[in-house]
């Protein structure tokens, strides 16, 4: 069973996001990079599927040359093939991103490497567009389900579950299929030392798809204004407990 996972390189923002002076981007000069949390789980899920059913995990990212780092992170978790769709620093919207992925999948299919399952994270942590997987599914005429936190794979079908209004709802899809997963579907493993060694030497297949402009034009980013300023300090240590109880009383939490 061949599984493709699509991932995105994003900055590791800590407690506060700083913007560039032109307010067009997150200032990443002081930041490391990672993959979106949902996608880390997608890689783990793909590795588990292949461990159970055989086959290979391919990981694809569309991003700058530095995104090779995230492909190698995925390889350290157990992915075998690494695919970089290289960009030149311009931002790619969800329509162009989906087009580039579809083109890459078709190319692989023609080369005899079709995919039974294509996994996405439910939404990227930075842009949160919620749509690339669905656009890819339509272009490839494959069934698709999103928000998935439970996945069972059979020979020709899959069963996917997700949360809905205090319960869980389930879908059955025939393969090949596209699935967008959420964090919580599994607990990703830590990369093993041999995994990391393999990842260092792994070959990255590269190509450069054609950029096209997104119909949604960004004007500027801004940090939302919050009414909260620095907290009023009620006290230090257990001496603050009476003040804390007083506050709970004032808020109507304790009678």
């Amino acid at each position: 069973m061949n599984v493709l996972v699509c991932i995105k390189r994003i900055p590791m923002v800590g407690g506060k996001i700083v913007l560039t002076p032109d307010a067009q981007q997150v200032d990443t000069r002081m930041l490391g990079f990672t993959l979106s949390p949902h996608e880390e789980c997608a890689v783990e899920e793909a590795v588990r599927i292949v461990e159970l059913r055989g086959g290979a995990v391919s990981v694809l990212t569309l991003g700058p040359p530095d995104a090779a780092e995230q492909l190698r992170d995925a390889a350290a978790l157990g992915a075998q093939r690494l695919i970089l769709l290289e960009t030149d620093g311009r931002e790619w919207g969800p329509i162009a991103t989906a087009d580039a992925i579809v083109e890459a999948v078709r190319r692989d299919e023609q080369a005899g490497h079709g995919y039974d399952i294509i996994l996405f994270g439910n939404e990227a942590a930075d842009t949160g567009d919620y749509q690339v997987g669905i656009r890819v599914a339509h272009a490839l005429s494959r069934p698709c389900v999103t928000g998935v936190k439970h996945l069972e794979i059979a020979d020709t079908a899959l069963r996917a579950g997700r949360e809905f209004r205090g319960g869980d709802e389930f879908f059955e899809l025939s393969l090949p299929a596209v699935v967008a997963v959420k964090e919580g579907i599994n607990l990703p493993r830590y990369p093993s030392l041999p995994g990391r060694m393999r990842a260092k030497k792994a070959v990255i297949e590269q190509s450069a798809p054609e950029w096209h402009e997104d119909p949604v034009r960004k004007q500027a980013l801004r940090v939302p204004v919050t009414e909260r300023q620095k907290a009023e300090i009620l006290g230090t240590g257990i001496e603050a407990v009476p003040a804390l109880v007083g506050l709970l009383e004032q808020l109507g939490i304790v009678a």
Partner: protein, 330 residues
């Protein structure tokens, strides 16, 4: 031109996230002098139409649910595409729920139109373009943008838009819409639904007691559990806690976990990463217990106690027990 809003309902009434989407839609419709229309799938209760009218909806399309015995994302999207094509449409809107985002992304894929998720506001005045703001980074940033294609496909951030009824209710006209579906439109559908019994739901809890890395170990959650039990609260945790495998992911508060909106969020031993703050920005009051007075959570809380939660929380439990006054009446 019309503004069309997909409204989710539970068979009884409209869900809260859709009321917020309708409020967003009405503001857009007023700016472009369009009427506001609603689309609902499945058996609709009369009271739902009254609610829609009170939110300014002048036209409702009830999509006949013969083939929609259960939720089918592509089928829902097909019905929306048909309705958007039957009359000039400024925008198609849905709540930014799992279903709303999913259906609108299908509409985008079927039509080739752009879809903009988790919008906070949108308007169209003289010009053809719609100006909008939307959440980025789960709401930690806002982007101002312009979309020139029509209709615009928008979902609404339900933790960023308030549900506001219209100043005066609209008179509402209800139409039945029979979608023409192909077999593949209902191929993916809900085949089974199971109820979970987890006690107080984190998303709806009035009080949430949060535990972070500062709790120290899975066992040390005992006093947080005890406090939550005493206050009728739900327990929430940070991503550091679920990533370490200390607690189940369905207790995670944050951008990739549950978004909470309680009266009080008591965050214990949580530093306040962006990912976490995105999930608790709708909490009315935030109180932090943390050893580090410089932790980001302190600058986002209303009140703070500086110190070790593993001493303070048990002392708080003891103090509340000694008062002999458990949780106030809800």
């Amino acid at each position: 031109m019309t503004v069309i809003c997909l409204v989710e309902h539970d068979g009884n009434d409209t869900i809260d996230a859709s009321l917020r989407a309708l409020s967003f839609g009405r503001a857009l419709a007023e700016s472009s002098r369009d009427p506001l229309a609603a689309v609902l799938v499945g058996e609709v209760a009369d009271r739902t139409f009254e609610t829609l009218a009170s939110f300014g909806v002048s036209e409702a399309f009830a999509v006949e649910s013969g083939e929609f015995g259960s939720y089918a994302p592509v089928g829902w999207a097909r019905a929306l595409v048909e309705l958007a094509r039957s009359a000039p449409t400024t925008a198609v809107i849905a709540a930014g729920t799992d279903r709303g985002n999913e259906v609108m992304a299908h509409v985008g894929a079927m039509t080739g139109l752009a879809m903009v998720a988790n919008c906070l506001s949108a308007s169209r005045s003289e010009e053809a373009a719609i100006r909008l703001s939307r959440q980025r980074w789960g709401g930690s940033l806002i982007e101002d943008a312009v979309v020139e294609v029509s209709p615009a496909l928008l979902t609404v951030a339900f933790d960023g838009v308030a549900p506001e009824p219209a100043p005066a209710p609209a008179s509402i006209e209800v139409h039945v819409h029979l979608p023409s579906l192909s077999g593949s439109d209902t191929e993916v559908k809900v085949s089974e639904w199971t109820q979970r019994s987890t006690g107080i739901s984190l998303a709806e809890a009035r009080v949430v007691i949060g535990g972070g890395r500062g709790v120290g170990s899975p066992e040390a959650f005992g006093s947080i559990e005890e406090l939550a039990g005493l206050l009728g609260a739900a327990v929430g945790v940070s991503r550091a806690v679920t990533s370490a495998g200390w607690r189940s992911h369905n207790q995670q508060v944050g951008q990739t976990g549950t978004r909470i909106a309680p009266e009080l969020y008591l965050a214990c031993g949580i530093s306040g990463a962006t990912q976490h703050l995105a999930g608790c920005q709708s909490a009315k009051h935030v109180v932090a217990i943390n050893t580090d007075p410089e932790a980001p959570i302190i600058s986002r809380a209303d009140y703070a106690v500086i110190g070790d939660l593993n001493l303070i929380v048990p002392a708080l439990v003891k103090a509340i027990r000694e008062r002999g006054s458990p949780a106030a009446e809800l």
